[in-house]
């Protein structure tokens, strides 16, 4: 079925995987293996003990009709002692195997976290969120899944070697017959896992599409309700759920067949051993005790053999998960665009830069400009013309394709339109790991007009997000603003950060920034005329030409498209009632 080279290749990969996993915590793993060895030796010893008890104690007692107390007590003591040691072996094996498994999971998580933290945003943008989360979650679990059964599997192999030797040395013919069933059973197990796993994999894939569909359907619940589509959506999801069900049922059918076969084969072997044993006992080559211990030994090995099959079948999943984590870990760390910035002068200067997400979609070419401290520049223009990309390039979350940027100082703060807040307290979200005094925090909240924070249950210590208080879009924007402001940045970049605020609050916030950060270069994407009115300079982004920075009135005169855009803002106004016209 599989050619030799691929089998040996698989074997090598398996060994490599196991070595890599064990290398994280070799000490813990070794202790577990020692426990496993103790368990194996005790198990084999218990079968020898059983033979001795049957031959020397039980049969003798019933033959001689004489009850020997000392012999009986010896038998009982040995039985109890041996199983006590065996139990200790099990405890050591399992607890340390678990410890090794979960500490390795922890180490793998740490490695993934290091990568996530070190890679700059341009790398993150190339990845899918779901993929990265799979690395840290499912893949870590899958990688270490193979570790727990490993010591047990090793002890089973050890048991098989000792017992196989014991069986064969006891009675060559019977021993060979019994041990020849082992490979058959392992083969049956592996075949079983592969055949059944195919269906479980299909089910898993369908489950993936089910959760994606469920997530989407719940996320769009407002639309579902708005069109009374609850039943339709339920039916749509039910179809996907039924595919999961069908794959599962197929897997179960196959599984039940194999399970029954795996029970039947060893039982039948036992029966054959009894027949064979009867001949051997008749010829005087075997005692009854030896035969019984023989069967006991064989029975003891049957269940563990199944676990070997299980561990072997887990291997590809572990391998895939571990491989994905390693690829993530080994992917080169991209350069942080900020490391290329020059630090000089008192102005923010861009020299013949080209920006865009990649060289095929250049949004702005050979652009140079200087932004003086204390000025407020508004970025105006149609969506998709590169306003946000320009800001992000200045902040270094997107690398410039060409050109240089020189900044007066280190502190550049960019606030996004949909700011990201962490599931911690308001103050943690503002400080972001740096230390600030409480009065500084309060000052930053005041600048951002975020007074609502004082009404939250625990004020600035209120936990926000999933485990805490939910905030509205405008509230989130204001906390993000406070986060930027508290650092007293030399350069403050606002990507439509006030869009969810009402115009009144928006004006207040901008006035506050003007007053409190009077030396900062402020550049903001503006989509409301009010903001444009406040700006010292305007940069107009247009698909064909890029104008500015220059003053609003100058632009109105210079640029036809700018005039057209400003008129488009006016138009809805003019359609207002006559009253508002009078006011204009």
């Amino acid at each position: 079925m599989h050619d030799h080279s691929s089998t040996s290749g698989r074997f090598h990969r398996t060994i490599k995987l196991l070595r890599a996993l064990i290398s994280y915590h070799p000490g813990l793993f070794s202790i577990s293996m020692a426990g496993a060895a103790l368990f194996a030796v005790c198990t084999v010893a218990s079968s020898w003990l059983l033979r001795w008890i049957i031959d020397e104690v039980i049969v003798r007692r019933f033959d001689s009709q004489h009850f020997s107390l000392s012999r009986t007590l010896t038998a009982v003591a040995l039985l109890l002692g041996l199983s006590l040691i065996r139990a200790c072996g099990v405890i050591v094996r399992r607890s340390f195997a678990g410890r090794a498994q979960w500490r390795t999971a922890q180490s793998l998580t740490d490695e993934v976290v290091d990568v996530l933290v070190q890679q700059p945003p341009q790398w993150h943008r190339q990845q899918s969120t779901g993929d990265l989360l799979t690395r840290a979650g499912v893949d870590v679990d899958a990688s270490v899944a193979v570790m727990a059964p490993l010591p047990y599997a090793s002890s089973v192999i050890l048991m098989m070697v000792i017992a196989g030797y014991g069986l064969i040395s006891n009675d060559v013919a019977l021993g060979v017959a019994a041990t020849s069933v082992f490979p058959l059973l392992i083969g049956l197990n592996v075949l079983y896992q592969r055949r059944v796993d195919k269906w479980f994999d299909i089910a898993q894939g369908e489950l993936g599409s089910l959760s994606a569909a469920v997530h989407e359907s719940f996320e769009g619940v407002t639309v579902v309700k708005a069109f009374g589509a609850e039943n339709r959506e339920t039916e749509r999801l039910a179809v996907i759920a039924s595919r999961v069900q069908n794959a599962r049922v197929e897997a179960i059918r196959l599984r039940s067949l194999f399970e029954a076969a795996l029970d039947f084969v060893p039982n039948l072997t036992n029966i054959c051993l009894v027949i064979g044993g009867a001949f051997r006992v008749r010829s005087g080559d075997l005692t009854v005790g030896e035969l019984a211990s023989f069967i006991y030994m064989f029975t003891l090995l049957v269940f563990p053999l199944r676990l070997i099959g299980y561990a072997l079948s887990e291997m590809p999943r572990s391998q895939a998960g571990f491989g994905r984590i390693q690829r993530l870990r080994l992917s080169p760390i991209l350069t942080d665009p900020r490391s290329k910035y020059l630090r000089a002068g008192t102005e923010l200067e861009v020299k013949s830069i080209a920006i865009g997400h990649d060289s095929e979609h250049v949004l702005l070419k050979n652009f140079s400009a200087t932004f003086r401290p204390g000025t407020f520049t508004a970025l105006v223009g149609y969506t998709g013309c590169g306003k946000s990309t320009f800001l992000q390039s200045l902040a270094g979350t997107i690398p410039c394709l060409q050109g240089d940027i020189s900044t007066p100082g280190k502190q550049v703060s960019l606030v996004f339109q949909e700011p990201f807040l962490f599931g911690t307290s308001v103050s943690d979200n503002i400080c972001m790991g740096e230390h600030f005094e409480d009065n500084e925090i309060l000052w930053s909240l005041a600048v951002a007009e975020a007074d609502f924070v004082h009404q939250l249950p625990q004020g600035i210590n209120t936990i926000i997000g999933e485990r805490g208080v939910g905030l509205s879009g405008g509230q989130r924007q204001r906390i993000a603003l406070a986060r930027a402001v508290i650092r007293r940045p030399q350069i403050l970049l606002l990507d439509d950060t006030t869009s969810a605020l009402d115009p009144n609050t928006e004006m207040k916030v901008l006035k506050n920034i003007e007053n409190e950060l009077s030396d900062a270069v402020v550049i903001a994407v503006a989509s409301r005329p009010s903001l444009i009115g406040m700006a010292d300079e305007v940069m107009f982004f247009h698909p064909e030409i890029m104008v500015g920075p220059s003053q609003h009135l100058e632009l109105l005169v210079q640029s036809g498209p700018y005039r057209a855009l400003m008129q488009a803002y006016e138009r809805p106004k003019e359609q207002n009632s006559s009253h508002s016209k009078d006011l204009l």
Binding site: V221, S256, D263, N267, R483, S499
Partner: protein, 603 residues
């Protein structure tokens, strides 16, 4: 305490079976087959006993053993045949259990889909979405895992224990009772360990979800972390949580490691007792050497399933807590309930009547009734058919809530809303959704084509109807810019389109229904000028000939409306036309002034 957790588990199971009655269907025959299957496992010990006592014919003098090989062969052939029958029975039992449980879980999933879709919007906020999805996916999965491994073990091992106990009793009731007596305390010990294990696994799970949650923040917040160079600090936070998870898991494994050995030690005690008492009593009580040896094997077989059962205990715990969470969701009352005695809305004018309307959020866990303050209070208002109404007010004034109540996404705490004289809660949902369409603030688009998103409103709409819908609201020119026309893919949540374009699609989608009442929750996010123009134009077209209620965030919308309702802290404080209100001293006038100021400073 142990009792109570166990009762809790059984109660959960009972409630689960009541929620999905088909779980129990045909279980009797399955158990019967499992018993036959399990009886196959005692065949070997019985054969050994028979062979030793009769075939190998042990006499008083072991030197003169006579061996009756033909008898041994006869017994063995019979046993082999029985083994085959047992194997077939076992196979059938396993297959039946699997198929039935999967069918039942499918049913449970569909129930959950339906129920969750019907929950009110309060139960659907962003924070809870992840857990709702988890209920239908991973929690049902834990049940499926349970039925295909743990539940199976219970079935087969339970059957095995019954069979073995019966055979043991038949051989020698004294020894059998000793084995059973010794095994009983094992169950107590296992339960002790088990209850500790539950707590340990709960800790593991919550530690794990914290790790995953904080890792997700590293990914989704990557830009922010970079912007503030805070990656290392927040990374450390995740690592700390990963260590806490490791600690919790280590503790759980430690407790788990004690389970199997306790079975082992009880096994040793039981076998020792059997050996000691068997030997002490000797053949005087009718016991034979073969029976005693067979009994030793049976004792192991009796304890083996107990040990195996303990292995699946943790899985059982996971499954039961999964079931508990699922039942928890099913126990949340569904949102606005379907009317018991629906009334059809007549053909008369569909005036809207709001009477004494108050609304307060259901207190969340840990909050008293008093903490949940009223969002709306005693609102009265009547809106004649065809009016263009704008509801304005500051954030938190209750305007969004009023919109939700008008759309019947929630029911009021006090008072009622009626359309055409019929209370909203007496109108059949299907009818209501044809009468009244809501365009939400952030219109949600499915990751599919434009056509599929439009057909969400009207599944049977033809290609032509969809194209016409665009021109009906003056969006023909925009439609022509779509790269693939109706087949344009909109991306996840419509991410291929701008926020304004998503709103355009939402308007076209709403227009397909041709509702009498349109409720618009105006978007707060700003839209670029050209899309803004299109939106205004489309809205003008769409609102003609129907009642339109806009939850307005921009006063320009209010200025265009026939009538403006001003809300302040849940109270309806002003009601009139824009022109009236602008000249009357009050909240609206103030809002308008500051708005005008901000606008004019732009010019």
């Amino acid at each position: 305490m142990i009792e109570s957790t166990n009762n809790g588990a059984i109660a959960t199971l009972n409630r689960g079976v009541r929620a999905v009655p088909s779980l129990r269907q045909g279980i009797g025959f399955t158990v019967f087959l499992a018993l036959i299957g399990a009886s196959g496992r005692v065949v070997v010990p019985v054969v050994i006993q028979q062979a030793i006592d009769h075939g190998l014919h042990l006499t008083n003098n072991s030197a003169q053993q006579t061996v009756n090989v033909s008898l041994v062969i006869k017994v063995c052939v019979g046993a082999a045949i029985y083994l085959l029958i047992a194997a077939v029975a076992q196979r059938t039992a396993v297959s039946r259990l699997g198929q039935r449980s999967e069918a039942a879980l499918f049913e449970l999933r569909v129930q959950l889909f339906q129920h969750i879709h019907l929950l009110s919007l309060e139960d659907h906020n962003d924070e809870q979405r992840g857990s709702l999805v988890a209920r239908v996916t991973s929690d049902v999965e834990t049940l499926s895992q349970f039925f295909s491994w743990g539940g199976l073990a219970y079935l087969l091992d339970g059957a095995l224990m019954v069979i073995v106990a019966s055979v043991m009793l038949a051989y020698d009731w004294v020894l059998a009772l000793i084995v059973i007596a010794i095994s009983t305390p094992l169950i107590y010990v296992l339960r002790r360990v088990q209850s500790k294990l539950i707590a340990a696994y709960d800790a593991t799970r919550s530690a794990n979800s914290f790790v995953l949650g904080s890792t997700a923040e590293l990914v989704t917040g990557a830009e922010t972390l970079h912007a503030y160079s805070a990656g290392a600090i927040f990374g450390q936070r995740v690592k700390k949580s990963a260590k806490a998870r490791g600690d919790a898991q280590t503790k759980a494994t430690m407790i788990g490691a004690l389970l199997f050995p306790s079975g082992e030690i009880f096994g040793a005690i039981a076998v020792s007792s059997v050996v000691f008492i068997g030997l002490w009593r000797g053949s005087g009580s009718g016991l034979t050497a073969g029976a005693l040896v067979g009994f030793i094997f049976l004792t192991y077989r009796f304890l083996e399933p107990i040990a195996e059962l303990t292995e699946v205990l943790d899985q059982t715990q996971t499954a039961i807590s999964g079931m508990r969470r699922i039942l928890g969701i099913l126990a949340i009352p569904v949102g606005p309930e379907a009317p018991k005695y629906p009334i059809e809305v007549g053909s008369g004018p569909l005036d809207i009547e709001i009477e004494n309307l108050s609304f307060a959020y259901r207190p969340r866990d840990g909050e008293s009734e008093i903490d949940s303050h009223a969002v709306l209070q005693n609102v009265y208002c009547s809106i004649p058919f065809g009016t263009q109404v704008a509801i304005v007010g500051e954030t938190g004034s209750g305007k969004t809530t009023l919109g939700r109540l008008l759309s019947r996404f929630s029911d009021p705490t006090v008072g009622q809303i009626s359309i055409g004289g019929i209370p909203l809660n007496r109108i059949q949902n299907d009818e209501l959704r044809k009468l009244l369409v809501v365009v939400p603030q952030e219109p949600f688009l499915f990751s599919d084509t434009v056509a599929a998103n439009l057909r969400f409103a009207l599944p049977r709409a033809t290609q032509q109807q969809l194209v016409d819908a665009f021109s009906n609201v003056d969006l023909q020119d925009w439609f022509e810019t779509l790269p693939m026309g109706l087949d344009t893919l909109v991306g996840q949540r419509g991410s291929q389109l701008s926020a304004g374009e998503r709103q355009l699609i939402a308007l076209v989608r709403a227009s397909l229904i041709n509702p009498s009442i349109l409720i618009l929750d105006e978007a707060t996010s700003s839209v670029d000028a050209s899309t803004e123009v299109r939106l205004t134009r489309a809205l003008d077209k769409l609102s003609r000939g129907r009642t339109t209620i806009s939850i307005a965030h921009r006063l320009s919308t209010a200025a265009r409306a026939d009538r403006v309702l001003v809300l302040d802290s849940g109270l309806l404080v002003q009601d009139g036309t824009h022109d009236e209100l602008v000249t009357t001293p009050g909240l609206y006038c103030e809002m308008y002034k500051s708005w005008e100021m901000s606008r004019n400073s732009a010019d």
